[in-house]
Symmetry: C2
DNA sequence: AGATATTTGTTCGTATGTATT
DNA sequence: TAATACATACGAACAAATATC
């Protein structure tokens, strides 16, 4: 019905009694169907007069959560994520350099104040790592390429949420912040100058360095973690034809 | 409940009456909840004795469909897709070269027989283009990196399904098949030889050439299409802060 | 092949919650 | 404050699918 009527975000579906009539099924069935659409983020329900089911632009966070579920049993590793980031973030940087305005640059600058200084506590250090990843989420939001923006934002969100990563962030690592901050400062300059090639190569170096530090840390953390909780080593691995690595998400 | 019990794919949830008891809600509510999980691909329902709700590994096709919905109103262009493919497919090729076995190579070879010859009809040409994209889907399935595999598979699926692309495929373009087939033949050799650098550079050239041909074709097709159906020009554009291109999916 | 038991799927009537006017 | 228009929730009965004997 949505497709055939070419319904656009903001429009309202018929009310439940009308849907019951239109499709010749009962209320419960209609409600299950509406729940499916709501789960996919395609509609939002509102109660009360004037309420009903409204077509919506799927929120990026919803789409991210749905696809994150897919990777839940896949045992993603830091390397898997950085393979992608190394390929995509430099392209994102280059693309942004071609069109980013002063307002966007100001937003990005603001995002960096959270970690422009050494952390006083381990808790602050963790907050800074999250903030650093949110800087990358902001970058992604400014992309003119929805695919590139979504994917880069998704990867940053993964790094915030994945269990392995959260364990990594419990270990102090001053270099990670220092070098990250330095790269991002240089990146903003290149973006301000509208210089795609420089932006790309800065981001490339940033990703290479971050990957090196994260995978090194991953090894340490996994060793400690597995020693402390050795039964985890025998945790059931994903079924299906041959994946080879560990690091359950 | 799934998370707290750390339930794994294959396990069964309690039956509806038990869930009703466990959560103290009615059958309709339980069913809406189950529908949500089923929509996300997290469970599958089966009727009959021994039936019920089973935890499942989310099928890749399900996850792709969910995230494809997100892009439905975003008006993706051929360029958007090829920005991603140019960045990712070469990395995929290089990664595959490090571990692909003879069985996998045989599967890929089989996938190519569909388009190892010039098409006799326009219908066959269309089938060949789909088959060529399915070759890339196969490649993606063999990746050891779930993120890279999923994303490359998703991009190929987009090119199969997107309205702009389907229109493009209605125009004859012998070069697309010839050059694609030639690149893929070279690629298989590099994969067989276990040579990541060669595989990467072949795929890079393949993507560059494909992008060029597709965007050129896109311009022609859009011109014809918009002339034939000029009211489409005024189709409502995606809401929200400034996207700049056309080519509604 | 057919009967039966088990489990999900659907319906209907009713009651409740919530936002607008 | 009250009336109205919606979604949301409940419960009992019935229908359909499927495995097992």
């Amino acid at each position: 019905m949505i497709r055939d009527h070419a319904m656009q975000p903001g429009e309202r579906l018929p009310q439940e009694p009308d849907l019951i009539g239109a499709f010749g099924v009962s209320k419960g069935t209609i409600r299950e169907a509406l729940k499916m659409l709501e789960t996919q983020g395609l509609i939002q329900m509102r109660t009360g007069p004037g309420g009903g089911a409204f077509i919506t632009d799927i929120p990026a966070a919803r789409a991210r959560a749905l696809v994150a579920n897919y990777f839940f049993f896949k045992g993603l590793s830091i390397s898997d994520i950085y393979d992608m980031r190394q390929a995509l973030e430099p392209e994102l940087a280059a693309e942004l350099a071609t069109h980013l305005g002063d307002d966007a640059l100001a937003v990005l600058n603001d995002a960096m104040v959270e970690y422009d200084h050494p952390p006083a506590t381990i808790e602050e250090e963790q907050r800074q790592r999250i903030a650093e990843l949110e800087f990358h989420e902001r970058l992604a939001e400014f992309s003119n390429n929805p695919l590139l923006g979504f994917t880069c934002g998704f990867l940053a969100a993964l790094l915030k949420d994945l269990a392995v990563c959260r364990r990594i962030y419990r270990y102090p690592n001053p270099q990670l912040r220092e070098r990250g901050f330095s790269y991002q400062t240089q990146l903003l300059e290149a973006l301000r100058a509208g210089d795609p090639e420089t932006a790309r190569s800065i981001m490339k170096a940033h990703m290479r360095a971050a990957r090196r530090m994260m995978t090194a840390q991953e090894a340490v953390v996994n060793r400690d973690f597995l020693q402390l909780a050795p039964e985890r080593k025998a945790a059931p691995r994903p079924a299906g034809p041959g994946r080879r690595r560990g690091h359950r998400g």
